[in-house]
């Protein structure tokens, strides 16, 4: 179980049970640097729970989560975020009453303590970072728009942008293209390819075409366990996978 430098996140034997029901069981998974790793699986397979376990939202009952060799299991959520793991939720989770710019600014990592917040000043650097992130997510024109009136797709991008502001090394996205139009999906795929150039991304997704487009590696989950892992071509040819998931 040595720390391999090519893996930024090493999850081993992770498990959690709710009242005896094992939602995730003996889940092991290695996230390579600058890879897009997609987790697929039927509803209830435990995909979202895996993200919850990694980011500390749910406490694991067994196993370990090592980020660059450092154990994260049992840490509080905000510490895991500060270590460098960002999480996007399934439904767009943004601040509707703030503008796009303010949404990005509030996600900037300086001054996250009580006094840090009081002393926080909007510097030129922070403003520039907000603008450059807005450009990446295609919302430059919308910087002064109240986030609540953005389209569904734009909200999803904004939340991804809020993660980028934290400059995390790992980004976890839960169904980022659910409810998006075909064009928005294509743009999201391009966005993910761009942001994975210098960070690793874990994506949960149902849309097979989208997965094929973005995935470097795919893990298939079923009933809390790993069913198959490998390239998209390999797993989609796996008879077990076809039986439980793709064939349906």
């Amino acid at each position: 179980m040595s720390t391999d430098n090519s893996n930024v996140l090493e999850v081993e034997g992770l498990g959690v049970s709710f009242d005896g029901f094992k939602a995730v069981d003996d889940f092991s998974f290695y996230l390579a640097r600058n890879h897009v790793h997609v987790i697929i699986g039927p509803n209830g397979a435990g995909k979202t729970t895996v993200l919850d376990l990694i980011c500390g939202k749910t406490q694991a009952t067994s196993g370990s989560v090592k980020f660059k060799g450092r154990e994260l299991r049992g840490q509080r959520e905000y510490k895991i975020v500060r270590a460098g793991i960002g999480r996007k939720f399934q439904n767009p989770s943004i601040y509707e009453n703030l503008t796009v710019f303010e949404n990005l600014e509030i996600s900037h990592p300086t001054g996250r303590g009580v006094f840090g917040c009081l002393m926080f000043r909007r510097t030129r650097e922070i403003m520039e970072q907000c603008r450059s992130v807005a450009a990446q997510i295609g919302l430059t024109e919308k910087l002064d728009t109240e986030a609540g009136i953005l389209s569904h797709g734009q909200k999803q991008w904004l939340e991804i942008g809020m993660l980028l502001m934290q400059e995390p090394e790992v980004i976890m996205l839960d169904e980022p293209v659910a409810g998006m139009s075909v064009r928005e999906r294509t743009e999201t795929a391009a966005l993910l390819r761009r942001i994975s150039k210098d960070r690793s991304v874990i994506v949960i997704e149902h849309d097979m075409e989208f997965v094929r487009e973005i995935a470097d590696r795919v893990t298939v989950m079923h009933l809390g366990k790993i069913l198959a892992e490998g390239s998209m071509d390999k797993v989609s040819a796996d008879p077990k996978v076809i039986e439980v998931y793709i064939g349906h």
């Binding site: 939202k57 999480r87 939720f89 989770s93 943004i94 303590g113 926080f120």
Partner: protein, 387 residues
């Protein structure tokens, strides 16, 4: 300088409203009212400190505390203990079986000052305690609650229980606390007679200046990143947590800050009213403090302070005339505010433009039809309301 002003006030209307309010309490009321009435206003304004804390805690951060009376009381008792010890010098209390201790202790057969009273012989310590004891109690309770993600109704119930525990605890330990009667017969502060008219006036102005300062401080906080994060926590707690903020710590800090403000209010209450008793800090007063804030507007610092003034004036006026009906009226007001004006009186000012837009063309039409000289609303001559 101008950047500080811009941080404090989002609009000119807000700044004007604030200045008008300052003139009202610092100039108009002292000129218009006799000292007795002014002293009553001063008493109402001490609840304003609690209200400002509630604007930050409840309005901005979404944490409803039904126990702010506890902190008001702790601050008040700290001040009252000092004043009581000063009033209980051995000469004045020579007829007691143990001279030199507060009278209620003597009545309860205590023969020496309890240890926790000792430090309150010092004024600097007492002033320090007015802030630190409420702040510390709130910090510990807040930390224990918010770490475990206790919030919403559960937090409100726990704070309410806290108010009950404190008032019963004081009530039941007469020898140490003065019991139900409270700590009464307070006279001087470092030899300065606080009961005289001139002292009452000076204390009123002190209270006003401190309250305006606290209000500015709260407005400053609201307009910094902390203020935005508070609202973000209220609306999207999970997102804030996963942006790397320690939500529990921020909530705890705001709770402790609100408690310190309440403590200051309590101390000023004691100085102006001259006594402190458990009836001022229990469940009902704690809920009343929330009602003041709700009526005035829980999002607006100035609104909440004005809410304190209006509801308390109403309480004094109506409870003198119809003591039985007052509680129903107050309850009814609270329900009406929650149902129809969730942002309180201050929230009504947001509706001004809409009301004007609705009214102006109708007035024009009426004027054209009737030929009467009805003032036009089209020119912006609406006086900005307090916000």
């Amino acid at each position: 300088m101008s950047s500080i002003v811009r941080t404090l006030f989002k609009s000119r209307t807000e700044a004007i409203a604030f200045i008008l309010f300052g003139i009202l309490i610092l100039v108009v009321l002292p000129l218009a009212l006799p000292v007795f009435r002014l002293n009553l206003i001063g008493k109402y304004l001490t609840f304003g400190f609690v209200a400002v804390g509630l604007v930050l805690l409840w309005g901005r951060c979404g944490v409803l505390s039904l126990g702010q009376g506890v902190f008001f009381g702790l601050g008040g008792y700290c001040m009252a203990m000092f004043l009581k010890l000063e009033a209980s010098d051995p000469v004045t209390t020579a007829i007691q079986s143990t001279p030199g201790i507060p009278d209620f202790m003597d009545w309860n057969q205590l023969t020496e000052l309890p240890w926790f009273w000792e430090p309150f012989k010092s004024l600097p310590f007492s002033i320090f305690a007015v802030f630190v004891i409420p702040g510390l109690v709130a910090f510990l309770i807040g930390w224990a609650m918010f770490r475990r993600r206790v919030g919403g109704v559960y937090f409100a119930i726990i704070t309410q229980a806290m108010a009950l525990i404190l008032s019963l605890g004081i009530d039941g330990n007469q020898g140490y606390t003065g019991g139900r009667n409270g700590i009464t017969d307070l006279r001087t502060l470092w030899g300065w007679d606080i009961r005289s008219e001139s002292a009452q006036q000076i204390l009123y102005f002190l209270c006003c200046v401190l309250l305006l300062g606290v209000a500015l401080g709260a407005k400053y906080i609201i307009n910094t990143r902390l203020g935005r994060v508070l609202v973000a926590i209220r609306d999207r707690e999970e997102r804030v947590r996963f942006s790397g903020y320690d939500v529990a710590m921020i909530r705890t800090a705001v709770f402790a800050f609100a408690a310190m403000l309440s403590g200051l209010g309590g101390a000023l209450f004691v100085l102006q009213v001259g006594f402190m008793s458990p009836s001022i800090i229990g469940i009902v007063p704690s809920i009343e403090m929330v009602i003041f804030t709700a009526v005035g507007g829980r999002l607006s610092v100035l609104g909440a302070i004005i809410g304190c003034l209006i509801v308390n004036l109403g309480k004094t006026t109506f409870s003198e005339a119809y003591p039985d009906l007052w509680l129903y009226l107050m309850g009814g007001t609270f329900i009406a505010v929650v149902m129809f004006f969730p942002n309180g009186l201050a929230g009504l000012t947001d509706k001004f433009p809409a009301a004007r837009n609705w009214l102006a063309p109708r007035l024009e039409k009426l004027r054209a039809k009737s030929g009467l000289n009805i003032p036009s609303l089209n020119k912006t001559n609406v006086i900005p309301d307090e916000h």
